[in-house]
Symmetry: C2
């Protein structure tokens, strides 16, 4: 691509073709690609094949690549002389329960007019199918205007992001030569709270674990055994409650090793973002920030590690009441990690803490649900300045360098396995309800997202 990219033509093409782009997204959203639920494995593959067909129709050389888990979609544009760019997104989605809290079937997406503007509602609309398609529509516009795809693009779309990406690292290792590029573009993050465009330069890591504590061989009558026999729910509850102290600090030995305090510079930048924690929480019906004392809200979510109980179950939970001492109790827990915290060391400390709480005649079983460290980008790469500039032009506001509380292990994996930095640019909003009932994506995010990528592709040409 020697000639100057035709930005304005691409933008007007994207505007004109928006209705078709939205119906393509709706078609994609109708595929129930829930990667954590084995019952939906077929749907996950179906989503991969749909995506692969789309990319082929644009002239990409694309394949669905099998893995021990769900497949990867890998695509290439023709080789050329520009710095190779890798684009990453994921086509799998979160489970939908509690289903009764959805206002419409989660996999029958629709465009709705809301007081806050038009949205497309359905599971995956924002996380991550809608965001992923902003890439695809930008490529489509480029080709429509210039007659050919941008050269030297590598596309990697994953189907296991919502279930800990078990196959990703092996896949990156086995295909390192093919996938290595100058820099990776990852579209799985959000605009800053007030709708300002942003490039995420740090992400928390994630370590997830399921615990199963077993006591008696079967549920016991609490009248005959209560006071004498071990209650696995009580054991679980005691062990989980003692992980945080009254100040909200995590008490596992060595847990804070590697946690870095904010640089004065970053602290100043984040202060300048003037984050309204109360307003942010009010979006979900809450008021008061919890967590460690003496930390700013942004620091809590972007730069501090956490411990969360994501699910718990044990004993009788049906209608009415049952006076049992249950045979087992289970919990799913996760830690968000920052700085250079070592997920393996924290797993050891956590498991040791739980094991120490188990009486001699009870047992505990652990199920690993993935562990990845936090990541921090090197923003000295000129691509960051170029993208920041392009985003500012599209959104009419200066783009911010921000952090993210979520975990996108892929960024760390790209760095570690492919020696490649990542640029995290996304257009989700805080009220998108990702992972929750009634997930949505703003039409504005989708439209200006695709326009943003067209500008960034041009800026990096």
């Amino acid at each position: 691509m020697q000639n100057k990219p035709k930005i304005d033509e691409m933008l007007s093409t994207l505007d004109r073709e928006l209705p078709q782009a939205l119906s393509r997204l709706q078609e994609f959203l109708r595929i129930a690609s829930i990667s954590t639920d084995p019952a939906h494995a077929g749907d996950v593959r179906k989503a991969a094949e749909w995506l692969c067909d789309e990319l082929r129709s644009l002239g990409f050389q694309a394949d669905v690549r099998d893995t021990p888990g769900h497949p990867m979609v890998v695509a290439h544009s023709p080789k050329g002389d520009r710095r190779p760019l890798l684009f990453y997104g994921h086509y799998d989605v979160q489970p939908v329960d509690p289903l009764e809290l959805w206002d419409r079937p989660p996999f029958e997406p629709a465009i709705e007019d809301t007081p806050a503007g038009r949205v497309i509602r359905g599971r995956g609309a924002s996380d991550d199918k809608g965001q992923l398609m902003t890439f695809v529509e930008a490529f489509r516009a480029w080709k429509a205007v210039h007659g050919a795809l941008p050269s030297d693009l590598v596309l990697l779309f994953e189907g296991e992001e919502e279930s800990g990406s078990p196959s990703l690292r092996p896949f990156l290792r086995e295909n390192a030569e093919e996938l290595r590029a100058g820099i990776a573009m990852i579209c799985d993050t959000g605009l800053y709270a007030d709708g300002r465009p942003a490039i995420t330069t740090q992400l928390r890591g994630l370590y997830g674990e399921e615990i199963v504590i077993r006591a008696a061989e079967f549920d016991l009558h609490s009248g005959s055994f209560g006071g004498l026999a071990a209650n696995p729910i009580q054991i679980l509850v005691n062990a989980l409650a003692s992980i945080k102290d009254d100040a909200g600090r995590i008490t596992l030995p060595g847990f804070y090793h590697g946690v870095e305090d904010l640089s004065d510079e970053l602290r100043a930048d984040w202060q300048a973002l003037d984050f309204d924690a109360g307003g942010f929480l009010s979006l979900v019906g809450l008021k008061h920030p919890v967590g460690e004392q003496g930390r700013s809200a942004l620091e809590m979510v972007w730069n501090r590690p956490t411990f969360e109980i994501n699910g718990i179950t044990g004993g009788y939970t049906g209608a009415g009441f049952k006076t049992v001492l249950p045979a087992e109790a289970r919990a799913k827990v996760s830690f968000r990690l920052t700085g250079t915290q070592d997920p393996q060391a924290i797993r050891e400390a956590f498991r040791a803490h739980i094991r120490a709480a188990i009486p001699a005649d009870c047992t505990v079983e652990f199920h690993d649900h993935g562990a990845s460290p936090a990541s921090r980008m090197d923003i000295s790469d000129p691509a960051f300045a170029a993208a920041k500039q392009a985003l500012g032009e599209e959104w009419g506001r200066e783009a911010a360098y921000i952090g993210a509380g979520g975990s996108i292990p892929i960024a760390g994996d790209f760095k570690e396995i492919l020696g490649m930095d990542s640029m995290l640019i996304g257009f989700a909003r805080d009220d998108d309800r990702i992972h929750s009932p009634n997930e949505k994506y703003d039409i504005e995010s989708f439209a200006k997202g695709a326009r943003s990528w067209a500008r960034i592709l041009a800026a990096l040409a």
Copy 2:
């Protein structure tokens, strides 16, 4: 009944008719009368009607009496000149989940030969349909041998015992004149651990409660909100863990008010029972007694109050993993009470403890699942000595006065509302798995149980 009761004829009749008695019991057990589950309300009524028909066929004047909840079955034998006796049992049963742990459908009972002897297996076999039928078969034998039922019997069979007996106290009040008798016979307890016949002279009370803690309006992404937003599971877990201290003592203010230490006499009696806690726990796959330090095992189960978490649920508990902060968390908890502990005062203390743990932007909801004090019988009533004697003759071993960890609020209700003492005699065994999968009742318990009642009826004639 002026003539001396024909004990030997009744016993040989019971032995001869055992097969028919067992098929009647199986028919009764096929009715899925789960009182806690609204879906089974029709089955509960069906069980009441089945029982009523049985009693009418024996010459009782019997009715199914409606209540705001499940019905009562009330029956009378002809009036005569003996001290009226009331017989109480319950025809409702516990829920059956986890269903997959049953070796056979819970409501398709069968007689099985086991290494420990023949048993009848099915939900309710022991608690309480099998025990209730020991009354009925004894009455049947009496009538077969003497040509008429024993006079002055009042039968009260309840359908809500497993769901907190909401209708019972009002029913006793409204029908006090009709139901008041000299003493009540309650068949809902067990033999002593080693199979020795026993009369239970004290029972623990029970206070049950469900807690629902709500935080955000919907499940949140733990990446976007973790560290900042309240997690209702964490709140619940912290509140529940702090109810007991490290020594296993319950920390609610005033909780131990009214708890009475054992009399030296009772302590000596119970010591003499030479209870093998390890052996008792080994029946269910456990080894080590838990609970308060410095208390004997029998004391723990019979004379000390407890706090138990019977069920807990919140967040994502399905296959795989979901990094949510859930919108709500729930627990079902119960306290076993002893001495003169006041259930209402303890409810207040418990609710206050939970409320104190709820942040300003979260809510808690309580669902009352019944509250009844402990009860202790007056064994100076000569009926106790007579029954003790009769049991000794049937079982060939001296009967013991014991306590029970379970709650049979009816005994306290009879005392309070009808001014009537109760005699708790039952034939269940510790390995009957009541409230658990694969519940069973020993054929020996059923056969000798009916024989025991025939002897007791004669002894009290």
